[in-house]
């Protein structure tokens, strides 16, 4: 088991090196911070609201664009360049590969998201912020990011092309987003069912500042579901 942990850590470390050694990582980070800064500032200065609700409402959209870009290469590139064969013929379990890749991406997104803590800290200087609500919102954001990463990792596992992985990942996230928009037009029973299934609805419910077990479990379940699908997809390409 300890060997497994070390290997997971080694994959995380390798992914991290790849991000900090290439310009793409910095480009994505700067673009993310600029975009999130824009949404925060427009809310504050244009609308004149000293709260974060508008900001948290658009964050899923931002994640929807950025997470596929950050995850698209994770497995597609490995398969395309042949390094997957290298990795798959080393004594490492597929579950370690999936976990390592997921944690590496989670670490990168978490860093970006935590950097935006600068905004609520600034706001707390000029107004009264409900720190509990902010904490819940950030937790929700990280959980939602986890879901999105798992979905995009799966997209990256089904193809050898990073661009196709982006399109598939973004497509699934967009479909989930559009599903949320059409919910009010559906019958109440269907509405209830789909509300439970879409990660975004749990995110929005957590934004109210209430952390319910149902929301937590649902967001985690979607993450685990897509990580399992990713595992399954890789296992098919690999021997046991």
């Amino acid at each position: 088991m300890r060997g497994g942990m070390n290997r997971v850590a080694a994959i995380c470390w390798k992914e991290w090196r790849t991000v900090v050694d290439t310009p793409l990582g910095y480009v994505v980070a700067i673009a993310f911070l600029l975009a999130s800064g824009f949404f925060f500032a427009s809310n504050l200065f244009l609308i004149g609201q000293a709260d974060m609700r508008g900001y948290f409402a658009v964050m899923p959209l931002l994640l929807m664009f950025f997470i596929p870009a950050m995850s698209m290469r994770a497995l597609a590139d490995e398969q395309r360049s042949g390094t997957f064969e290298l990795m798959a013929t080393m004594p490492i379990r597929t579950i370690d590969i999936v976990t390592g890749k997921f944690l590496a991406l989670m670490l990168q997104i978490s860093l970006l998201v935590l950097m935006t803590l600068f905004y609520p800290l600034t706001l707390s200087l000029i107004g009264n912020l409900d720190s509990g609500q902010i904490a819940a919102a950030y937790l929700a954001m990280l959980l939602l990011a986890g879901c999105y990463i798992a979905i995009c990792l799966y997209a990256s596992a089904v193809t050898d092309h990073a661009v196709v992985a982006y399109v598939v990942g973004f497509g699934i996230l967009l479909a989930l987003f559009l599903l949320m928009q059409t919910l009010p037009t559906l019958s109440p029973n269907l509405q209830d069912l789909l509300t439970n299934l879409t990660p975004l609805s749990h995110y929005q419910s957590m934004l109210r500042g209430v952390i319910s077990l149902g929301d937590l479990v649902s967001l985690l379940a979607v993450t685990v579901l897509f990580l399992t699908l990713t595992w399954f997809q890789l296992e098919r390409r690999r021997w046991r």
């Binding site: 290997r7 050694d21 042949g82 290298l86 046991r240």
Partner: protein, 310 residues
């Protein structure tokens, strides 16, 4: 060390490898030869537990491929084109591969030092892999495959795309490795296999055609007597007389070579072809400038077994 029993792999309905059985002894360098698409890579992918065989079985050092994790620990594998993480520098790549094999940090540093010395990577350890030449990338792949000091090495076309100097270096390296380890390497370059391997097998369309040392293989293809001869002037007379004594001969004029140069074939390898030709030439007063017996090269064996010049 490596034992394969009726190993087969199908892609759809097509066999990529069919009923392949062979044995590689401990400490032996075995060459796997065949034209492109013969099933060399598929065979190696099965032996390294990347692709499951459709049927048959194999074992590495007595461990069945079914126990894939244990097999992976025993082998060092260099896939075709030596894939590596091109965004990383050489040292980071080797560290990553070592960590994947579960090497502890202290051991890993020693091993990286040893392997980079052995593969001539000392001066490029801190260079990014995508900045390196193909030869260096190949060496990175070789170093990575040996980090965990496996007893059995499997190299898929280790010298493809290298320049002649690099090829010689890599061959030397493999030869050195072969002194202590069991090596299975694939290639479609015959001189390479002849230079490096103790034994070789030729496969075509997924099937084993022949296996043995290069001498054994040459002997197998040497099914006829062959004589190359150059006369000073036209030798029609000599051949007419020769045909009276040895009616089965076949004379082939080698027009692209020197003038009056011929290859003479006789189906029976034991026939006194050279002797008879000598006496006939003397009786006709034809001057022989050069006469040598032809020997089937490995190239002839290869072409004969893998369907000519496809």
């Amino acid at each position: 060390m490596i034992q394969a029993n009726q190993l087969s792999r199908k892609y759809g309905e097509q066999f990529a490898v069919e009923d392949l059985s062979f044995h590689v002894r401990k400490g032996e360098v075995m060459g796997l030869l065949g034209p492109n698409g013969a099933g060399k890579s598929t065979t190696m992918k099965m032996l390294t537990c990347f692709l499951p065989p459709s049927s048959g079985e194999a074992s590495i050092d007595g461990v069945s491929l079914q126990d894939s994790m244990a097999v992976r620990r025993k082998i060092g594998y260099l896939p075709e084109n030596a894939p590596s993480y091109s965004d990383l520098d050489v040292q980071s790549h080797l560290k990553f591969v070592g960590a994947m094999h579960g090497l502890a940090d202290a051991t890993l540093e020693d091993r990286i030092r040893e392997m980079s010395e052995q593969c001539g990577l000392e001066h490029v350890l801190h260079r990014r892999i995508d900045e390196l030449s193909k030869g260096f990338r190949q060496r990175v792949g070789l170093a990575a495959s040996m980090l965990h000091d496996p007893d059995c090495l499997i190299f898929d076309e280790p010298t493809t795309g290298l320049d002649p100097n690099q090829i010689v270096e890599i061959r030397h390296l493999i030869r050195r490795l072969g002194e202590k380890k069991t090596v299975l390497l694939s290639s479609h370059v015959l001189p390479e296999v002849e230079a490096v391997c103790d034994r070789m097998m030729i496969i075509d369309q997924g099937k084993l055609q022949v296996m043995g040392t290069s001498q054994e293989l040459s002997r197998q293809a040497h099914g006829e007597a062959l004589l190359h001869v150059i006369f000073k002037a036209s030798a029609e007379m000599v051949f007419m007389k020769l045909k009276e004594k040895l009616p089965d001969i076949e004379v082939e004029l080698k027009e692209n070579d020197t003038p009056h140069s011929y290859a003479i074939h006789h189906p029976d390898p034991e026939s006194p072809l050279a002797e008879t030709l000598f006496h006939t030439a003397v009786s006709c007063e034809a001057v022989v400038l050069e006469m040598r017996s032809g020997q089937a090269t490995l190239e002839d064996v290869f072409r004969e077994l893998t369907g000519g010049n496809q």
